[in-house]
Subunit: 323 residues, 4 copies
């Protein structure tokens, strides 16, 4: 059974076996996890970005190479529905041979661009306002309190300070001896540990941990729909284990870091709760890790400054890897 | 006469004295400047980002401090007309107490965000497709050839590699003994040289040069309309001189780096031609330099990875300064 | 106390005296009103548009005059927050003197337009998916069942058949001897009856009833913020009484038909429940009734064909009045 | 050769035989046609809507039937590139069981909708600012004078008064004995005259003339790409001839009224020039004429009130046909 069919079957089983409820959602404050950085904290593991760690991370740049971890995003880039993007370039006042010389006093010509887009498309950072459980988000923030239609009142991605960190890559594809893991192929913490050990990767507090599966390089262009509806990735347990290593962020070269469809007994996308809501750890999606994998890069300097749109839930990003 | 009135008067003089023409625009290829990086080059001074310079720049990080050079952008952030932005946060399938448990199998809750915005708002990088003269842009690219309504075919900002560079700040406000220069106050190359000399700032090829005027800290919140219609900044001559220092990018804590209204005899915004079109040097607008000025930071590591939207003219950015 | 202050005071009283609850919303199916047009009905009083009534309404056109009941809507048109609109006109492929002759074989020139807008701006029809009580909308439709982020699954305005009806105008401003009622001035059913009687207006089943207050002509341009935050209009009781006359639609030359702030003891905007949810009667907002009032038009042919965007909640409209 | 291949071949022939020029476009004022309604006229044949004609048109309503001439438009509705539409429904303040009772004082629930769309999608009216020749539009308006990126300064569709007219349908499919004409099948004025004569349709000044080809009913759902890239329709000569009958508007059940690919020797879409630019006659695209054809309706009352967005080029419409 191929992965697409597996997903369809799985989805049907879900609908058949789970009691379908539109019943009233009840947030349960007792179920949430207070942040170890205090009740007012909004930035979570970004607190781990310290001068000491920054100075250590600088030392990882030995060759002077820099690399964009963001992919190029266009109108056909697949995304979780109904996310999409459209761009328009305009040349104000320059239609049909009209010159701006009369307006500006010299023969200026210029273009501007506007877009209609969802920020959760392509390479992106998930802020803590993106996903929670039972209405409760990071640090016991209740969706009823901080969400407004015009932006988040708390947990907006504009709050995230620059993430400057030691980056590490675990190459799961290489560990399995393939170019790319398969859609639906789960990655357990035991496998991550084994791959890391084999590849000489050590996890430290404050790291940015990236998992290379080969999925995006293999599928994004050639099979975009498959890329978008299934993927290899973390089991719930692996997400929790990675979170327990106290990184600043966990990412992968897939659109959601977790395996889809979920592993047997797992909750779909529940790794988001383990990382974002319970531990205040950022998620980095669709990271462009191919070159790092090919060149055997295991450690690097990671620098991310995301566009600071007030109250945004997520943000399209292009972190820079340097080694 | 205050600056707003001055601008109005100036604008009227412009309209009165300049022969208003809607005459046909004629691109003059002979007037354009071929790139020193060859006829196919699209990235200009980003070619100056080299392993050697990157390794040198790393050494500037001595304290381990990182700082966002991007400001927070919201729906009220002023911008060159008709640029604007709007954001919406949605909670799909979670209206009126509807639970997603039936759809996902557990009590997931999530928010997504969409936006309608122009990329030339707030802190931004101007790509080479933004501004030219007589229809000719960087490296003799003719607007008629590379502009489409759905994106640029060449010179898109998604092409720009990570800009990792030595950053320097020239504090013009301190040099003049003020918190902020005045709207319409021109900055000449002689003044930049004098300030740099007094502050111990040396310019090197491949730098990112930032000019601190104090303008954004002084006016953006308190007088947004004034902030947006006038500003201190570079004369045409100063822009050319800065370009001749061969930086990767020139930026300022103003929305357009040049003085507005322009200095006597100058062309408004012509510094964009000197930098973008003639020399292939990027422009960084509305840089958040206040902290650097206050703390006397003169040199720093500059890292920019802009979101890679295909064919975009400009991009909202948040470069990271580290020292 | 002027109306703005009154509104502010009223709002504060509300917040002070009402138990503020973010408690779980519980839809109460027993509280909803089944439609008299059957459990599957989605169009409510549009069922009253019949061949007989249409033929009768045609007879109201005696002079051959036609008039747009929609106002002109632009980017500065005030609206219930955060509703807004923006328009861009583009001239694809025609920048900087580029000719389309090579693409099309002749010297074609053209413009297109795109917009980012909320459909609840300016002259608009409220569909039955716009407003309900306790999560229940028209015909006992539960918001949890028919709302999706990409459109309504039921009750979308694209379903509304052409509304061809007898239109009547009650001129409340004339009845009170003023050009325009004041913001916050309530209109009771007794006053409507008295005005109608004095003006010779009779209500019949299947009518479109418009209330002229003079508010939009008086305030939209001169005091847009006041226009948008207060208005004269129906009391809860008047809305219910009008609904009991069995019209197809009730409208006014105000943005929400009800008085804002609400009358003593009333619920703000509760007329929407009386009309939309309980009775399946459409609401027409910001109707351009000034000319009808000035010319003493009391009866007219009303024809509305709204743009049919699938799953829309509301729609910008421009019904045609003919007499 | 099927129509899609024919179109591709035709396009290649075009590109091969036409001298490709990006040369400077020169507007030639001498080539434009002044309006017979005077140099200041902006509404063209809408001047033909008179009380007399309106009263005559009312008499066409004999059965009391009304019918929407607009189709339902959704995110998958094909359109001339890059036109598109997207809709979002939001439930402000009602996420995750949040109640608005604290904000409004009662258990109000509501939805709003926003959209990002091009107005030239689905059933639409082309305003006179949509298409011209050599930069000149209706009534010798030069694109350089009336087009701005934020809207048209003249010829905006918000200016169009209600179009109340006698409507006539010519059923070309029936005349050819088919359900639908083929893509690329041209319709000449001789064929229109023959069909009209056979069907007892007479053209009068001030009419709205609709051509039924069967194309949209046959192809829109079943073959959307074919629907959008080829179509039966008017030859250049037929468009001119129809224009010479002095209608208010000419429409069809296709996306552009003209045949695509164009007839031998014709200019593609040049019927737009004949109607809009030379004669001030509106074009109505993708009219929902199927029911009229099936029921043999030849004459009807046509009423159009388009949403009045300031400075728009086109507008999505839903005219009402009554008979």
């Amino acid at each position: 059974m191929n992965t697409t069919n597996k997903l369809r079957t799985m989805t049907m089983l879900c609908l058949a076996t789970i009691f379908y409820s539109t019943g009233t959602l009840a947030s349960d404050p007792s179920a949430c996890t207070p942040s170890k950085w205090g009740p007012d904290d909004q930035i979570g593991a970004a607190n781990l970005v310290t001068p000491e760690r920054t100075l250590q991370a600088m030392k990882l740049v030995k060759q002077g190479i820099s690399h964009p971890l963001g992919i190029v995003i266009g109108p056909k880039t697949p995304a979780f529905p109904p996310r999409s993007m459209a761009l328009q370039v305009v040349s104000p006042g320059q239609q049909n041979g009209r010159s701006l010389e009369g307006d500006f006093g010299w023969n200026i010509t210029y273009n501007d661009d506007l877009a209609q887009l969802w920020f959760g498309i392509g390479s992106q950072i998930d802020g803590f306002g993106h996903l929670g459980e039972g209405g409760m988000y990071y640090n016991c923030n209740d969706a009823r309190d901080f969400v407004t239609v015009s932006g988040l009142n708390k947990l907006g991605t504009h709050n995230i300070p620059p993430i400057v960190a030691r980056g590490v890559v675990v190459n799961m594809a290489k560990h399995k001896g393939v170019d790319a893991l398969a859609g639906g192929q789960p990655i357990s913490s035991a496998e991550i540990r084994a791959a890391a050990a084999a590849q000489g990767v050590e996890f430290r507090e404050g790291d940015v941990i990236l998992i290379h599966t080969g999925w995006t390089d293999a599928k994004l262009d050639s099979a975009p729909q498959e890329w978008n509806t299934t993927q290899p990735g973390l089991t719930n347990e692996a997400a929790a284990w990675l979170g327990d290593q106290n990184p600043v962020a966990v990412g992968a070269d897939t659109s959601g870091v977790e395996v889809v469809p979920p592993a047997e007994g797992d909750r779909i996308f529940y790794g988001h709760v383990e990382l974002l809501a319970k531990r205040g750890i950022y998620i980095l999606e669709t990271m462009n890790t191919g070159r790092l994998a090919r060149e055997g890069v295991r450690e690097f300097l990671f620098v991310l400054g995301q566009a600071r749109i007030q109250g945004a839930v997520q943000m399209i990003i292009n972190p820079v890897a340097m080694w």
